[in-house]
């Protein structure tokens, strides 16, 4: 499954290059998605204020659903720091919003020292390089002070091309050093080609 998805984007020699020191293959998985943001907009859990607020944003951070018993939805552990880091670094010109009713935000605190980037939505592939740069610089900042740590980066990105009426779900789970490299090799134009 993983190999098939990577092979769609890269050739076999590139794939071999992704075997890391830990002996695992860096994962960048691309799947079809079906109008992901509409699903959130259709939910009654979110009030009109929330829906109106996120319409203006370039990047929307989404809560994950059905992750724990008794908890309907919650954001990934790095959400607050990532969100505030993004706002403070306004030079990226990207408006960022949390898809959640004010005061109802819940956050996961997971057990490992990994980096859990919030589930992210962008409404155009033009925003992809900016979003990836933002995540990369955040990860770099997060790792300051820990030169010998090797956490795994967990990142899920929903990207929609409204003109084409298509959506993709990109999943990255792997070491820091492979993150930017993998996304740089992603051909945005080919992303929407028919499989």
């Amino acid at each position: 499954m993983i190999a098939i998805h990577i092979l769609c984007q890269f050739d076999i020699m590139e794939l071999l290059g992704y075997i890391t020191n830990w002996g695992i293959i860096i994962m960048l998985e691309i799947q079809e998605a079906s109008k992901p943001l509409k699903l959130y907009f259709d939910m009654e859990e979110f009030n009109d204020d929330t829906k109106e607020r996120v319409k203006k944003a370039d990047i929307i951070l989404l809560p994950n659903f059905d992750i724990k018993d008794g908890v309907d939805r919650a954001f990934q552990p790095d959400t607050v720091t990532f969100y505030k880091y993004s706002i403070a670094n306004k030079d990226n010109y990207l408006e960022i919003e949390l898809f959640e009713n004010k005061g109802q935000e819940k956050f996961l605190a997971l057990h490992s020292f990994d980096i859990w980037i919030p589930l992210m939505y962008i409404g155009s592939s033009i925003l992809l390089p900016g979003a990836i740069n933002l995540v990369s610089s955040y990860v770099y900042e997060r790792m300051k002070g820990r030169p010998n740590d090797e956490p795994t980066v967990h990142f899920n990105l929903l990207i929609e091309d409204k003109e084409k009426g298509k959506s993709k779900h990109l999943t990255y789970k792997g070491p820091i050093e492979g993150f930017e490299e993998n996304f740089k090799k992603l051909d945005i134009n080919r992303l929407w080609e028919d499989e």
Binding site: K84, A109, H111, G145, P147, N148
Partner: protein, 300 residues
């Protein structure tokens, strides 16, 4: 920010004393006088507090205040490192793990705001503490999963999502590190992980009657052989074959005890050596703690 110690700051009367004290720490640590190191570190922390207070209230110098946070963390790191060695020498190996984690936490606060090539032993300490962790028999840790409903900023006490809270967790503001205060926490589970947020929650086998020296054999060997807090080393694991004397009870033509019904010489007796892990401690120099000098010593 630790590089501020390379400067002379006349407007802060305590600054010269701070530098003199840090030189004393280096000397006492090198001489293994851990109690003295701890005492001087405490006085350095007091000096840093005074300098920070002046920077915040009188000179209105945020960079200075933030630098004092880093210098404080550096002194606390050296203090915990000395306590760590005291604990090791007294044979309290299990306790020493916790103190090692305290040392690492302080080093993270220093390294985050300091260029690791700027000296002060930062790069060496980072590598050294990582190697020291490897001497412990801990590979799995218990770590909790939670859902947090309220997160407050440690500096302004507002909700971290309040638009008026400008503080990014982990960053420095007027000599304070912004951290998130979690409230209304719902515990979900405890998981066993190899790379936890906090390595203090260790796993132990119930009913294990071994002594501390037996449980921490590698660490015990290390302390006996390398009783030097500034000695850098690298721990390498390699496969090695060990002779298993248990096989000596069987003759070559006896049936093998493993139940294969083959002759011992054609079964397990083919190789009386078993693969095991051999730990190799390779010495690689010492942590360099260059004494801080006064600027005028450089003038001609």
């Amino acid at each position: 920010m630790l590089s501020i110690l390379k400067n002379e700051l006349m407007e802060f009367a305590d600054f010269s004393k701070l530098k003199v004290n840090i030189n004393k720490i280096y000397f006492e640590l090198n001489s293994k006088n851990y109690a003295e190191v701890i005492e001087i570190c405490d006085s350095c922390v007091e000096l840093c507090e005074r300098i920070k207070e002046k920077a915040v209230n009188i000179t209105m110098d945020e960079e200075m205040a933030n630098s004092m946070f880093v210098v404080t963390s550096y002194c606390q790191m050296l203090k915990y490192y000395s306590i760590f060695w005291q604990t090791l020498i007294s044979g309290r190996f299990k306790d020493s793990w916790i103190v090692l984690q305290d040392t690492i936490d302080k080093l993270v606060d220093v390294t985050k705001f300091t260029d690791i090539s700027s000296g002060f032993g930062i790069n060496d300490f980072n590598n050294h503490l990582t190697e020291l962790e490897k001497l412990y028999p801990y590979n799995l840790f218990a770590s909790s999963e939670m859902v947090i409903r309220t997160k407050r900023c440690s500096i302004c006490n507002r909700s971290v999502l309040d638009i008026d809270c400008i503080h990014i967790p982990g960053n420095l503001y007027w000599g304070q590190k912004a951290v998130t205060k979690n409230e209304d926490i719902e515990f979900q589970a405890v998981a066993l992980v190899s790379h936890p947020m906090d390595k203090r929650c260790i796993m132990e086998i119930s009913g294990d009657t071994r002594t501390e020296k037996e449980k921490f054999a590698l660490l015990d060997y290390f302390v006996k052989q390398i009783n030097n807090p500034l000695q850098l080393f690298s721990l390498k694991n390699e496969d090695r074959y060990y002779y298993n004397e248990d096989y000596d009870v069987l003759g070559r033509n006896d049936k093998c005890s493993c139940g294969s019904k083959k002759k011992f010489k054609k079964c397990c007796g083919k190789n009386k050596y078993e693969k095991g892990t051999h730990n190799k401690i390779i010495l690689i120099g010492g942590i360099k703690l260059e004494p801080l000098r006064k600027i005028k010593e450089f003038s001609f």
